[in-house]
């Protein structure tokens, strides 16, 4: 943030997006599909990163946003017969509402209380999903395979689960999140959010109502995470309570920390590495909880800035 370089940033972002776009023609089937998933989950982590990386607020309940988007979209399709795009809209709308409401309550606390409160509300959303099983079908969840109509664009019709469509939809979501994040951090609002992260009291004493800014960050962060959840429901056809569990709240934290907190590309890197790490190691050990745990501990001790943070520190100080 200190030595910005809008041109270099634009080139880098465009390069990354282009690379991801081209990869779909090269990747073998398994990695093609894995990349689709990674891009969707990375968008989730990017939503999380807006709050942690650029506002300095650590949430342990982000799965509630992801699952709100997922369930709102899923239920619209499954119970009310909506098609994909309106269902997506409903998903985002619901997440905006939920994240704003949570923000109004949780932002009254600060520091570790904020963490615990988000964790508890995340758990409350999980319990609600179990409790209102007539809509959510409880722990089992439901699939959208049969209910979801293909997307019609002009004369063409696309099945949401078609690999090519899936990859490009995921790519589009990722590109959107990346652009939003980059615009945010060079915008005046982003400057204030970063100021809040660095020194909230000072920011207040410069005349900013930090509560409103944090509420905005929370809502945007929730909306992006919820959008990722909605898209996940449509592309992967499954809506289930597992996406509301506490582990799913910790996941974006892990990905973001690994990739680099407060870097725009960190979440993608972290999500990708973790996904492949677990995938590869699961061949010879099922002890991947240990891997996750060890990485978390080693990161906070050895490299709290994460991989992209290290790159920024050592090589590219302009890295956003």
């Amino acid at each position: 943030m200190n030595r910005r370089s809008p041109k270099k940033t634009a080139v880098l972002m465009a390069g990354v997006l282009l690379l991801l776009f081209v990869l779909q023609f090269i990747l073998p089937a398994y990695h093609h599909s894995t990349f689709s998933k990674i891009m969707v989950l990375a968008s989730y982590a990017m939503g999380f990163n807006i709050l942690l990386g650029y506002t300095g607020l650590m949430s342990l309940g982000h799965a509630m946003f992801f699952s709100t988007g997922m369930y709102a979209t899923g239920i619209s399709v499954y119970h009310f017969g909506y098609t994909g795009i309106p269902a997506l809209g409903i998903g985002v709308l619901c997440t905006v509402l939920v994240s704003m409401l949570l923000g109004l309550v949780a932002l009254r606390t600060s520091g570790v209380s904020f963490l615990i409160v988000t964790l508890m509300f995340g758990q409350a959303v999980f319990l609600s999903i179990l409790y209102f099983d007539q809509f959510t079908l409880g722990q089992d969840g439901f699939t959208l395979t049969k209910e979801l109509e293909p997307l019609v664009l002009g004369n063409a019709s696309y099945s949401y689960t078609d690999p090519t469509f899936k990859y490009n939809a995921a790519w589009f979501l990722f590109a959107l999140s990346l652009v939003i994040t980059n615009i945010l951090i060079i915008s005046p609002i982003g400057r204030v959010l970063i100021a809040i992260r660095e020194n909230e009291e000072r920011t207040q004493m410069l005349g900013y109502n930090t509560y409103l800014y944090k509420l905005f960050a929370m809502t945007l962060s929730g909306a992006l995470s919820g959008l990722a959840g909605s898209v996940h429901a449509l592309l992967f056809s499954y809506v289930g309570a597992t996406f509301a569990e506490i582990h799913h709240s910790i996941a974006p934290l892990l990905w973001t920390l690994l990739g680099g907190v407060g870097t725009t590309l960190g979440p993608l890197l972290g999500t990708g590495i973790m996904h492949y790490l677990i995938d590869f190691t699961s061949g010879w050990t099922s002890a991947y909880l240990l891997i996750v745990g060890a990485i978390l501990v080693l990161l906070v001790i050895g490299a709290p800035q994460g991989l992209m943070g290290l790159v920024r520190q050592k090589r590219l100080p302009w890295l956003p």
Binding site: Y30, L127, D133, D140, T143, T161, F236, F243, H248
Partner: protein, 443 residues
């Protein structure tokens, strides 16, 4: 050994064939012939017909090594390996050896879908198989359908037969909950009492129990006094027992998860000696020794078993071969560790499903992916499986429309901290008309 095997199998076959005829009349007699005959052929003899490629048939095994399903997963893995070994020692599948490719899914639907993906596109297995927990089945099956890879589950949920999944998902060798309940309810209402309180876990598996037990009660003129859903997170149950109405004659309980022992013990503490009749589902005690502390209370209560844990429960030849091959002793525990109790009422499904796959592979002449359509149609044409080494739990009737089988059930009474089988249902006791038709879906 081969010579000896034939006799007991023959006798079982006759019995089951009669019962099937009485129910299904001519259809079964005609259409079933293929399956029944081939099933009884000596595996060694039959392996000769499928020459050609001897590359192994690779079966992706989605196993719950971690997460809440890990106890089941351990035994599912043992059973699967034993079945694969047995099949390979007896000629493989259509002459080709079977190779099991296990992947842990963490008992998590998220990871489950990834694992199916990995099987199909990375490991390039022929089939995916083995999932137990219903939410993992739910999360994984869309991916199997999209990737168009046959997915054989061993999960006993009603989700396959309900039509919620797709044409690639089969549950060929483990009876679903709905059928289990329909099969046993008559005996329960007639022998234990007509005023029933249901206690079930607060998720879809539990709702199946709730709904079909309620339906069965109506059919038998019995009454459901109360329905108590228990959340999967519960660790204390005393508070639920207080809600059991006083006029309850029989309690019907089904619990899964780590809290089950507490559940049983607290039920004992709550009622003392003055208790109603109690009927439970073995799911609560799978992997648990009956002489565990605090379980004495269970003496005199009844349990559903899909397959009797104790060797004297259903002493057929096939069951003996199976028990021995998996390495389970007469008390249902591991031969190498008597404290390591098996999940005997579920894991047979793994064994039988592998044999059912073998059957389908051989009958359809499956060679590789291009034969999937043929294999699925062949499978949908199956009418059932005959009792024997391949199907030690008993004969099955199979519905190609719903991709679901129906089998016999056992009711056991706990006596001296041991299960004694007191009743065995017939297949038709648990039969209901399929309510879905997967064969109409495109392949």
């Amino acid at each position: 050994m081969e010579g000896k095997e034939k006799k007991p199998e023959q006798s079982v076959k006759n019995k089951s064939q009669i019962s099937r005829r009485s129910l299904f009349g001519t259809t079964a007699a005609v259409a079933g012939a293929g399956v029944l005959a081939s099933n009884l052929t000596d595996p060694i003899v039959r392996s000769a017909y499928a020459a050609g490629s001897d590359a192994p048939i690779r079966i992706g095994f989605q196993v719950h090594r971690t997460g809440i399903g890990a106890t089941y997963g351990k035994w599912y893995e043992r059973t699967t390996n034993a079945a694969a070994k047995y099949i390979n020692e007896h000629g493989g599948m259509g002459g080709r050896p079977v190779e099991i490719v296990p992947e842990d899914d963490g008992t998590d639907p998220k990871r489950g879908a990834d694992v199916v993906e990995k099987f199909a596109t990375q490991h390039k297995v022929d089939f995916v198989y083995g999932t137990l927990f219903s939410h993992v089945v739910m999360g994984s099956s869309p991916r199997a359908g999209e990737l168009k890879i046959p997915y054989f589950v061993v999960s006993e949920g009603y989700h396959v037969a309900s039509g919620a999944l797709n044409r690639y998902v089969f549950q060929p060798c483990i009876t679903d909950v709905r059928s289990q309940i329909s099969a046993m309810s008559g005996w329960i209402f007639n022998n234990l009492g007509k005023k029933m309180t249901l206690i079930y876990p607060d998720y879809a598996f539990g709702y199946n129990h709730r709904d079909y037990a309620s339906a069965a009660a109506e059919k038998h003129g019995a009454k459901i006094s109360a329905k108590l859903a228990i959340p999967p997170t519960a660790s204390s149950f005393t508070r639920y027992f207080a809600k059991i109405p006083k006029d309850t004659e029989v309690i019907y309980h089904v619990m899964v998860g780590p809290g089950v022992l507490t559940f049983v013990r607290e039920m004992g503490e709550h009622f003392g000696s003055n208790r109603p009749e109690i009927f439970g589902f073995i799911d609560s005690l799978e992997g648990v020794a009956l002489d565990s502390p605090g379980l004495d209370f269970l003496n005199g209560t009844y349990f559903w078993e899909a397959m009797p844990r104790y060797a004297d429960g259903y002493p057929t030849h096939g069951e003996k071969v199976y028990r021995n091959a998996v390495g389970v002793d007469a008390n249902g525990a591991s031969k190498s560790d008597s404290k390591d109790v098996s999940t005997y009422s579920h894991m047979f499904g793994c064994w039988e499903t592998l044999f059912a796959i073998k059957e389908a592979v051989e009958q359809s002449g499956y060679r590789d992916k291009r034969d999937y359509a043929n294999l699925i149609e062949t499978f949908e044409g199956f009418q059932g499986f005959n009792e024997g080494i391949a199907h030690p739990q008993g004969s099955k009737m199979f519905s190609g429309k719903s991709h679901q089988c129906y089998g016999q059930q056992f009711i056991s009474k706990v006596e001296n901290s041991k299960f004694d089988v007191v009743h065995r249902t017939s297949i038709e006791d648990g039969y209901y008309e399929p309510e879905t038709d997967y064969t109409k879906l495109p392949l």
